[in-house]
Amino acid sequence: MASLGFACLLLALAVCVYGIGASIYGVRSGRVEFSESGRRAVYALAAILTVAFAVLEIAFLRNDFGFNTVADTSSRTTPGFYRAAAVWSSQEGSLLLWAWLLSMWSSLALFLTRRRMRDVAAYATAVLLGFGGFFVALMVFYANPFATTRPAPAEGAGLDPLLRFPTMMIHPPMLYSGYTLCTIPFAFGIGALLARRVDAEWIKAIRRFAFAAWLFLGVGILLGARWSYSELGWGGYWGWDAVENASLMPWLTGTAFLHSLMIQEKRGMLKVWNVSLVLATGTLAVMGTFLVRSGVLNSIHAFGGATLGVPFVVLIGVLIAGSIYLVVSRRDMLRSEHRLDSLLSREAMFIANNLVLVGLCFVIFWGTYFPLISEALTGQEASVGPPWFDRYTVPLALVLVLLSGIGPVIAWRRATLANARRNFLMPVCTALIALVVLLVAGIGDKPLALAMFCCAAFVFGSVAQEFVRGTRVRRAIAGESPPRALLSLVRRNRRRYGGYIVHVGMAVLFIGVAASSSFQHASELSLSPGQSTRVGAYTVRYVRPTASLTPAYDRAHTGSTLALGAEVDVSRHGRHVATLQPSEGYYASQDPSQGSVGSLIGGQPVSHVSMDAGVTRDVWSAIAPNIEAPVLQRIIKAGNADLTGEDTLVALGYLARAYLKSPPPAQFHFIVSPLVMWIWVGGLIVFGGGLIAVWPAPSTVRRRVGARAGARRDRALARA
């Protein structure tokens, strides 16, 4: 079956080459059948890569360790769900996932636009097949997911313990869907420039895909943050890691584009800006993939080896150079049709919002790629850490939240000062009330957090005012009850009110970030059973040690051979709040020099966090038991000397019992973080608002009318 998979890759490469040629020939010669054939090549690519993906998936599910990727990342003891998702935990499998998702989303986009923009779509087809061909070529020549070893090993190495977490398995497909969806507006942008049709239609056609890319990327980023917080042993959700930043940058430029495209739709302005944003977003998505796949930056995400670095750099160079050339050479047709009427207008606020978002992207870009550039120029490693990022991103984030509250209450085209005063009254009062309450509560010593809370309150006030006023208008027009009027209002104005809900979600999310960052209490110390410590307003006491052996007792399917931990009691003002059970999992290693028993637990240990999540705070705990304690090491050494095969598990039993009977002091890490839950809640609100905004309204259903009759009807409606 490996040969079937590799044959699929070869066929896919041939289809890509053919499709690029057919599409370009078709559009240049006017021979529509070739453009159509090129589009069908994308459908064929999707079919071929589906077969290839199925072959690899079946190999994982059947534990076919003859496949190198299966042997490297799976094992017989890996639970079924993780085995199915382990396909994309390897370099090769993740490249196949990327190519497959690209082919599927491209097929959908080209199918939905098959009766529009024939010339633009033909060029877009060629660009999308170019991306597809690139990734397939990487697999054919550099990282073959169907490479085999015969005879097949009896057992695989197993899945990285850090990836044994449900949301971690969904995170790559969501993120890759976001990355691949970013290439669709990019491709149509290139197509529009090549076809010299940078008009209303292509913007309208790609809007939905730009939104889908933004949505999937956002969900993928949030899932990654959740995994970091819940699984990694450092207690944070965002560390300005290079790969985190790489996914955030196209999301920021994508957010800017979703706002500024409204200005182009309405006013025919910002054409150069919009096409540049689209091209930048697609390029940043490819650069994000480059960071993960090439191994040029050390990160928990990056795989070792730099075999793919050079091809990616070449591709990125071509994308950047080509984009700049096309925008500069077509600048005449990208002239704005109108000018900004007033600085006190929604257009002006959107432009300001765009500048902040692109500014944020630039800061993050510099902080992420500076170490690379510096190392390339000076030969010395450099690093930029969270304090640097926070210094520049926090003020920009404050301005962004504020603008998200100002935009909804300002009219398009122009607003008078008198109107502005009236419309800003409630949001400003909401912010001032929040300020007073928070100052009285004693958090004035954290000015940045205070500013963020007040800006968020401003957003809540402005959006609430919009919903109340809109519902009143709806009731005046249709005489509906308030709940029905509210539903009708949202249904008839999905983009507007879905967007307002997204703003509320972002404000909630930033409240969670500000609170958990500024008011966190943490403690790292060594404790023995019975000892306790204070963390903020909470008392945490080490009650007793815990130990568990191998998969029979491994309810969380962590795959650890042995897990040592503790039961911790959390109380506040003498009242019991929660019981936590953090542990450290020890995994088997491939190093025989560690001995028969030592190698059972000699792999990289992984912290299994335990937390009590609540509406107002999370209490988070992690433990690092002292496995080097003499009493435990004596058992390991004795086992190494005397035991082999399955008898070694007996030694682990003695080890666990010794740990339970005489536990050495363990290193604990406790964190009490306020309002963390609201980060995830805010993300869900953003997701819900986004779905509402992108959902097609019933009025977009096309109806066939006679052309002239339709125009007469339109004229009558315009005069009404």
């Binding site: 059948e33 064929a44 010339d119 739709e265 085209r413 607003a415 006023r469 002239r708 125009a711 339109d714």
Partner: protein
């Protein structure tokens, strides 16, 4: 590679050729081009511009009704938007009549 895999590869190849070659075969048999009867690029662009203009008119009314625009400002904005909409409609009529888009606003 065993026989089953070889047959599967051949079947996949045949399927790909059938999918990709269908438009070429249809054209060779004298079928009409796939885009015959579709809107011209100009008509499609004008239709998109018209829809966007209608949305602007609705947004302006919503802005007025929710108190973001004064009556005076709303009447001025609305008049301008409707004039722009009528110009787009005129251009659509000319394009459908085969007379080209006509003069720009």
């Amino acid at each position: 590679m065993n026989v089953v895999v070889f047959v599967l590869i051949l079947a996949l190849l045949a399927l790909v050729v059938a999918i990709v070659g269908a438009p070429l075969r249809r054209r060779a048999h004298g079928a009409a081009p796939a885009d015959e009867g579709l809107e011209s690029p100009l008509e499609a662009d004008l239709a998109a511009a018209r829809d966007a203009k209608y949305q602007e008119i609705r947004d302006a009314e919503m802005d007025y009704r929710t108190g973001k625009l004064s009556l005076e400002d709303y009447e001025a904005v609305d008049a301008g938007l409707r004039a722009e909409a009528i110009e787009i409609l005129d251009r659509i009529e000319r394009a459908e009549g085969g007379g080209g888009p006509g003069p720009e606003a």
